[in-house]
Point group: C2
Chain length 319, copies 2
């Protein structure tokens, strides 16, 4: 029987061609998460994209869901997907976009460009003193998925000493100078000039940074979070920055998103906030990569082969 493939991605003609070549013989329906109907979802054997989780209703027809995101949170909640539905994510597609965004935030903060931007608005030609160089810095990269690895390569190319922090041990890869287990995070934080956190949202990473974490950091340290906002609560982050326990932070994610207009975080001079835009499709290459991943997996699925980035429901990570 022909498989029904529901594509919920903003595809152009050349993307359709690529997908339909990979899924020859399938019946393709194109829509988007906002206008797709429950009937279309129910009829689909395969979905490519990001359907609203509450529309999936554990459909028995759905054999495979290919996400367009790296994050999997809404889909691993019991009852969203049927137990036999295969889930794959788009790990890898966002590595360049998010790593470069985190890198840009790191340089902005270490060179104090956020303070100069503020001065500019007051028309003040005013010197903010010493800056640091990544070439003299120790950078802890907390989370060594594809984004963490890409970021590690960028800071290492500028001469940083890189400490990779990951769940499981192993040999030290070429993009790090040292590997430490996540369980020993507290021993790494006091050594770091930059802490870049790129953890997914799991039970183990929720609120992993506490008041004590920031107490232990250098007062000159810069903290970057481009993973998930709930790695640190808004209160903990606010206390650390307002008390100058660290020098500055840059976050693309916050505990609550959008960050409420009355959050005291907005007003912190030493915090730079971007509205969860490091990923998405803001870098054109990201979407091309997602279509490539989806097409590759579609061909493999139809041929009964192995799929890339199958999500383990117990951890939320690709296996």
């Amino acid at each position: 029987m022909k498989k029904n493939v529901l594509v919920l991605l903003p595809v152009e003609a050349r993307h359709k061609e690529k997908l339909e070549a990979a899924g020859a013989g399938c019946c393709f329906v194109y829509s988007d998460p906002d206008t797709v109907t429950e009937e279309q979802i129910r009829a689909a054997n395969i979905i490519l994209g990001l359907p609203k989780a509450d529309m999936l209703k554990a459909s028995e027809n759905l054999e495979w869901l290919q996400l367009a995101s790296a994050g999997t949170d809404p889909y691993i909640v019991p009852g969203v997907l049927h137990p036999k539905t295969l889930l794959t994510n788009a790990t890898g597609a966002y590595s360049k976009a998010v790593a470069e965004h985190a890198f840009a935030l790191t340089l902005m903060l270490t060179k104090k460009l956020h303070l100069y931007r503020d001065e500019q608005r007051s028309r003040r030609w005013s010197d903010h003193g010493a800056v640091s160089s990544l070439s003299d810095s120790t950078v802890a990269v907390v989370g060594l998925g594809d984004i963490g690895r890409a970021y590690a390569r960028l800071v290492k190319a500028m001469g940083a000493y890189v400490i990779g922090v990951k769940r499981r041990g192993g040999n030290c890869p070429e993009y790090a100078d040292e590997l430490v287990l996540t369980q020993d995070l507290d021993s790494v934080l006091p050594r770091a000039d930059v802490v870049m956190s790129i953890l997914p949202n799991t039970a183990a990473t929720r609120y992993i940074y506490t008041d004590r974490s920031f107490d232990g950091m250098k007062d000159s340290a810069v903290f970057i979070n481009c993973g998930r906002g709930n790695a640190v609560s808004a209160e903990v982050l606010y206390r650390a920055l307002s008390a100058h326990k660290i020098a500055a932070a840059g976050v693309d994610v916050t505990e609550e998103e959008p960050l409420p207009a009355d959050s005291p975080l907005w007003g912190l001079e030493n915090l730079v906030i971007t509205p969860h835009i490091s990923g998405g499709f803001h870098l054109p290459e990201t979407f091309e990569r997602i279509v490539d991943i989806a097409a590759g997996n579609l061909a493999a699925f139809l041929a009964g082969g192995e799929l890339r980035s199958v999500v383990d429901f117990t951890t939320g990570y690709a296996r």
Copy 2:
């Protein structure tokens, strides 16, 4: 006869040790540009640092002036130094500091972090759309002195295609993909996604960027100037940015410095201004490098050897 060495640098004990070891047998006097007396200047055979040009009065006693800057403008004006006085600059000392600052500005603008900083002040969680990656960009580095070279290496490490623009031809070095002569600058500008200008202040570079230069650039281009402010007049820069002939600019230098509070440049959303702080002693390593250059040249001078970075008065460059 003992040489009188006047040191106008903010030295600490270890720097004094280094200089006095290099200048064994000399008579050292330590002061700073603001409190040094005319008598001390007149008595000096050697000055290390940045005396005020109008205090030098072409002193006949002054055999050698080692600048702490790369720029030489005030000292090559006729009548400031005696014709027999040797002038050396600190080319090389600032390369890391300035190149990294220019690199940070480049990333800030290409990732739109200046716009997100502005939004933050209005407590707005607001998406500014597509960004670009240096890995898909052509970067023109205009001026291939030590700073230009260091910047070229940084952008090349991120995957940029680098066009080096310099006065004289030669083989294409490893940090560039292509070399073009400064006289052909107009042919390069339309191809560049990023134009990074790091030219010294000479008759040939003054107002080198005109309305026509910006007319020829991509409307998505980013312009960076960390060289001298008069490479582009405030009016030309304002016209280019307010008419969105290019996407954005980041400048550490302006035609008039400090930039007057009533300059319309301050108010441009698509311009980031830093107050000529990329060099100076803002990166601690810079000052260490300057002391090393001064100590090395002092030993060479006393031994009758060749000095590093002797300035050619006709060009203002180190020979």
